[in-house]
Symmetry: D2
Subunit: 340 residues, 4 copies
């Protein structure tokens, strides 16, 4: 058993996927989707940016929406285990020759100092931070339960669940290895074909995946496949399908259940931006400290890995799931930047 | 508003779809499916025939399985509102020139006298009866609740829900009209193309359909499209999908939700016979006495009528849903017959 | 088997419980509850009265709220099977010496002519009608599904389910018999103690109960025990409990499952009026034409009849379920009356 | 922010609550409950002991049942993060003056070497181990999904969830502190009265609790309050309540939802032993690295902490929840012991 980053205890660690920042050409329509239909709380509006969280998130936000000519991802935001880990990650990255920007406190509202850099292989823009405020929700919507920030509303999104990155197939192997070796994610499941890694599901928590990375249909780097938000029960996903269908929100695929992760899926598109959003519930948790990655071949993946039941997810060509959206480069589209 | 059969009060009435009798080449495998997986009670074994019911059915059986070289339907069994209606239906049928067999009590175990005939248009074999025993379940499985015959077991089939008949497209219009005018079913929803009725959902109860009839993919008469059994909740259908998938039962389609009927569907094939079985939950109930049939055109049907969410059901060619199984002729395969 | 009213075909028949009209001291707060939390559509506001329906009701309304100094029930509204049945019921009632008021079309908005009278034993104010409009919902909330009037909203109330009447214990037997003999309701389940009928569940549809009548805790006549609204799944009742709890709506009892009716229950109080409202899902349907009423004794009722699981409902004294609200007398509080 | 055991990286760590070993006076009846009703797999029978696991557990067992004159807990079994942690914990314990037994491999079937000791404050018998086999399930029940050991069966128990310990109220404070300081559990929620800690919910994983400890009703040390097993959805808990009720299994309380942990609960008693078992689903996950324990006062606990909805859990006196069962002393009742 190889020592991983997280196990040595001497290196900085990622604690969670904290947030994603999405550019949208129609922020009002995106807010109708995320706030009014999915039920997220708009914690703060800051010029052209809106900060949202699920009803079970106590911290400031897990989603930033900002006005943008095209749908784009500004940043994938990871939170560290301890405050000093942010700078420790910066040091490690610079040692690797990765350019690191230092973002001033408030670059994203409610957040402390952070660093920003591009994944050296897939060019996805990451931000790493620790400090973030935990504002109480306003009176009218504050939950009586101290473990919830607000009352359940709309379709009941309670938190961000995971992010799924797409990139060129040639990069997947190196990009995934880097996520494991440098950021400390552990591989839980994966799929390969003829020795080429096509997709990998990784986590720093007992979830099957906090992050996934795989080959995108357009074979371009730095793409968002989807961001997933978590509901409490599989039955909530059915209610979401019912409601979103009737509100004219495009359903890419689902509801159904993945074999990989055992999560219930419903892929829809934010009507304001076209970003693919997974409405997700369930999945198994991994508490075994000696978990061995489940490595799927294509035959099994197509038989029962992608779709255990429900929508077959078997038509890559022309499939609505083949939609991805690109990412920003090193410079953030949000706020003012302090160069590192 | 035309007076219907049921409303005049002077004609016999069907109260419910009581049972279906299915021939299976592998009755042990069919029992493993219906009894052990779906959780139905085997009330009686009679030579090569087995009688089953759901845990919420107080009467003797809603499903008969019998050994047969090929998968075949012996009979679609309808129960009347009152005892004298059986003979009244026989009279009406004979007036129409339909040949009617009289079945002795016990032709199906637990049942009283019945009549048997072929639908004059689609040639489906129907049986009509009133008397049927209501045996208590044995001690070990009898429910504490007097409204349930037995304790919930397996995947929780509680009762037969509806039957869906297929026939040649040229017959659908006449066959459906006959179900309405002679048997008193009311049309709740339908779909047509270029003036040709393709499918109709009909009921004598507030369900959207106790029976449906439509054009089958092979365009042959007297086919079974599927028989549906009812579960209590949509979440039960998800558990059924999970479990049946893992037991290697072929899933034709689903889970998903129909726009027509608003029912949750999961189409599977009895591994012993190949008959298509729908695991069904939900649907709306019609209490309005002046319900107007919802008549769909093909565009709306394909957009959201067949599949409101979930498996798109959009590939008639090669679709597992295109499976149908044939019916017996006038002579029943079960027991001894007394000619009428 | 005795011929019932509904079977003779020569007498008028009730098709459904169509609506209830509730007086509330705080109509804004009641609207917040029924419209904003439960998700009902406010079809029309008419002076101090508001008309609402569930998303699966195509007709004008199933709930009327009107301003009133105290919480009161103006009317329990039954819809007949055919138009001419309204006048036929009027004749039968007058033959019995019951005073009958004739209500002009529009007495309740959207409704045609109706009659009004007091139950001759329990003094509950009933109205009987047939004609009622079926307005389309406005663009923004109209459902794409023709069997739904509007999109699912809030906690997903889809229709009125049943009404539960309370009266003095001495009246229950006669009052229940009258509902059966004159209005054609059939008894499905009942509970008695020492030969005295304490409660009875009755229906004209395959539901276990469209109406129930029983002894109220204060032993006063003409009380409302509760009105029930129907959700699609048991899981929806859990979401309702979660949400209503967090919005400070008083939960009387539940969630839990009744043995009688097998329905999932959640009893709450409209915060505007204090009327007891049951959030209800599930229950079994009765298609057997020869159903025999299940008559419970108190031991079984207390063991598993009232509560099959969940909240025990075992504390009549001091129980929040002991709340009832009174009814109007013969004169309606709504609109203008035309004397019969 | 104080450095915790788990954060220093230099000390041994508990990874998960692995198993519990329960003595039962009627092992056949206990197996009927855990194996046949709850659906756990009996992996191995070894003389008078039976080893079981949920369908989502890949390791050898999470539950040991063994014949015993009285209901008793033999051991609460914790698994470490790394192999060497077992001996490191032994060293720490001996430094504290705690007597440590060394258990030979196979002391529990399928398990490697382990240590055993009594909690120095509450006297609960703990075992700590790392090595444990991961046997494949036999052909007939092995799951097609590699992340499940077997197919979902019965009521769908997928894994052990947590254990809840009771002890004398005077010990709770010290006992809980020791669990945090020596074993590295983190407090997530707690309840106190007049400055006395009454109960605490702790975890080494993102679950709200892997273990809880609180004052027992009989105020005796080393008691089991309950052990919880995890189902996939809240709807599964309702099906479990339905089924267990009908099989005559005593329901102590529930179903309902805790405010603390937000988990769905159903407390029942193993009919073979009387041990209290919680059928559990849901709950929130804690990914925030700076989680602050939610410390409840009694008023809030009784208002919405213990029961957020459903069974009120408000009657400590005479409540079926007041049942606890005692633990073994230092010597294990299972197998042969090698003295440390």
């Amino acid at each position: 058993m190889a020592m991983t980053n997280a196990e040595t205890g001497r290196r900085p660690r990622i604690a969670q996927v904290g947030a994603i920042a999405l550019g949208t050409p129609d922020i009002d329509e995106s807010l109708r989707f995320f706030r009014d239909l999915l039920g997220m709380e708009e914690v703060r509006r800051d010029g052209s940016a809106s900060y949202l969280r699920g009803y079970q998130e106590l911290k400031h936000h897990s989603l930033v929406l900002f006005e943008s000519d095209e749908p784009i991802v500004d940043s994938y935001c990871l939170r560290t285990e301890r405050p000093e880990h942010v700078e420790q990650f910066a040091d490690i990255l610079r040692e690797q020759g990765v350019e690191v920007l230092e973002l001033a406190p408030g670059h994203q509202a409610g957040r402390g100092a952070a660093i920003r850099f591009l994944h050296p292989h897939s060019r996805h823009p990451f931000e790493i931070y620790y400090d973030i405020e935990a504002p109480e929700a306003p009176d009218g919507i504050r939950s009586l339960l101290p473990s919830n920030s607000s009352k359940r509303r709309g379709l009941g999104v309670r938190r961000i669940d995971h992010i799924n990155l797409a990139t060129a197939v040639e990069q997947v192997g190196d990009a995934e290895l880097w996520l494991r070796e440098t950021l400390g994610f552990r591989r839980r499941e994966s799929m390969s074909h003829d020795g080429t890694l096509l997709s990998s599901w990784l986590a720093v928590t007992p979830q099957v995946h906090d992050i996934a990375i795989g080959a995108g249909v357009n074979n371009e780097e730095a793409q968002l496949h989807h961001v997933a938000f978590n509901l409490e029960n599989q039955s909530d996903v059915l209610v979401a399908a019912d409601t979103l269908r009737d509100h004219g929100v495009a359903i890419n695929a689902g509801p159904g259940k993945h074999g990989i992760s055992q999560g219930m899926f419903l892929y829809v598109r934010d009507p304001g931006s076209g970003h693919c959003v997974e409405i997700f519930a369930g999945g198994y948790l991994i508490f075994d400290p000696d978990w061995k990655s489940i490595d799927w071949d294509m035959e099994a993946v197509l038989s029962h890995g992608l779709s255990w039941y429900g929508d077959p997810l078997d038509t890559p060509e022309g499939s609505a799931l083949s939609v991805t959206t690109p990412s920003s480069g090193l410079q953030s589209r949000l706020g003012s930047l302090a160069r590192g």
